[in-house]
Each structure stands twice: as structure tokens, then as C-alpha cells.
């Protein structure tokens, strides 16, 4: 791993947005795009973070009954990044392994959500336990 990769990510800005309605899903993904643009992401990276954000925030609303999304602008050794942390208070993803493989959905509507989002970003972490809600953290870095 290059030395810059090991450097700690500096958080430049942080904002928390509610996830209570469908309109909130649109607002959060729009905001993710704005931050990616501001950080100099190319079109492909912008689309990736925007789409991944949409999937995860919608999951939080539909499966988790809503929650909160936090967007951060990052800098790691001069490389720009955007991170989403999305937390819900739902029942938790019942079968995380299957959900991450894709093609599986608890409600039969969003089989691609988690697995698709994971393929679009550079770092992806999901913490979930039955009854404890789900938290997804994903990060996209600008191409050099």
C-alpha cells in the first residue's frame, strides 16, 4: 500500500441529514453529488457515490424505518474523498451475507441495493444485528 493510503483521512466538512421521507432520499443523494463535484470527482465517480448513497439511504427508509445520514468531505494525503454514514433504527438486516451477495431482498423490492452499492465504492462497511438497526459506512475516493 502506498504511504498516502495509510495516512489518516482528514474530515473537512460534516453534515447530518434526516432520513424520514422519500424526498429526504433525493436530498441526501443530491447533496452527495454536490460534495463530490466540489471535491473534483470525475463524472463516473460522482455517479458512483450518488447512486450508492441513493441505494443505502433508501434501504434505511424502506427497511429501517428511517434514520440519519451523515456526509463528510475527506482528504487523505491530498486525495479527495466523500463518505456516507447511514444509520437506521430498523430490525437489522436479517441475513447480511445473502443481502451482500445481491439478488436477495427482505421485502422483495431492493435486491441490488446493498450489493450494488458495495461494488460502486472503495470502502464499504455494514454493521447490523437483529433489533439493533443497521449502519452502513461507505467511502469513495477521487481518481488521481
Amino acid at each position: 500500500m502506498a504511504p498516502t493510503e495509510a495516512a489518516e483521512a482528514k474530515v473537512l466538512t460534516r453534515e447530518a441529514l434526516p432520513v424520514r421521507s422519500e424526498d429526504d432520499v433525493v436530498l441526501v443523494r443530491r447533496r452527495a453529488r454536490e460534495l463530490a463535484q466540489r471535491r473534483g470527482f470525475d463524472g463516473f465517480a460522482q455517479a458512483a457515490i450518488t447512486t450508492a448513497t441513493s441505494e443505502i439511504v433508501r434501504n434505511a427508509l424502506v427497511h429501517g424505518g428511517g434514520g440519519e445520514a451523515t456526509l463528510e468531505e475527506l482528504d487523505r494525503g491530498g486525495r479527495a474523498g466523500v463518505r456516507l454514514t447511514c444509520r437506521d433504527e430498523g430490525p437489522g438486516v436479517l441475513d447480511l451475507e445473502r443481502a451482500l451477495r445481491g439478488g436477495f431482498s427482505v421485502t422483495g423490492t431492493l435486491g441490488l441495493g446493498l450489493s450494488g452499492a458495495r461494488r460502486l465504492v472503495d470502502e464499504f462497511e455494514v454493521r447490523s444485528a437483529p433489533g439493533a438497526g443497521t449502519t452502513v459506512v461507505l467511502t469513495k475516493w477521487a481518481r488521481r
Partner: protein, 126 residues
Amino acid sequence: MRQTGQVPILRVAGVLLVAIQVDLGDTVATALQEDVLEAIARTGSTGLLIDVTGLEMVDSFVARVLVDTGRMARLMGTETVIVGLRPEVAGTLVRMGFDVSEVQAALDIDEGLERLGCKVVRRGAD
């Protein structure tokens, strides 16, 4: 008929043209699907063009709505072509693993019309 109010459905050269210019919330996307099917029934159009040039993002929900609309239209005897997919949107959908095998697509509206059997005369083309 439910009116989404945000996406006009036009009739051009015998086909329906739906130009999506705004980032669609889930309810609006679903309502648009129903509006399009009703417009097909009303007009008897045998072709449907969905122009997504204005969409900066197509996630799995919106993609599913678009593909399903095409499948439903096919049941009504109408052929669907999706046009104007941006490079980054096409790349994102494929990287997510979205199944695009049954989607008919064209680069732009002219090409989409030709795909649906309309004769398009481009000025200065020859």
C-alpha cells in the same frame, strides 16, 4: 389519470416520447410508469421512447421502474427503446450488476426513432 406533473408524455411520429428531465423520487417514478401505460392504451402507439438524457443518476429502483415499464408496454404490444443514457450512468448500472439483457437502447432520440421504424431525415446528412 394520475398526473405526475413533472414529466410530459408527448406523441411524435406515431410513438410516445417520455423525456425525463428531473431526478425522480420513487413515488413519481412509479406514477410515471402508470401514466405511460395509460397513454399507450389511449393513443394505441406501437412505440415508446424513454429519453433519460436528463438523469444524472439511475439507481436500482429507477432502473427497475424503467425496465418494468418496457416489459409492461410489451404486453400491450408496444416496443420500448431507452435513449440518452449517459456514459457514467451506463457504467454505474453495469458495475452494480443490473441485468440489462432485455433493455433495448439507442444513443439519442433520432436513433431511437429509427429503431422503432420511423424514418428520420437528418438535414445535411447526405
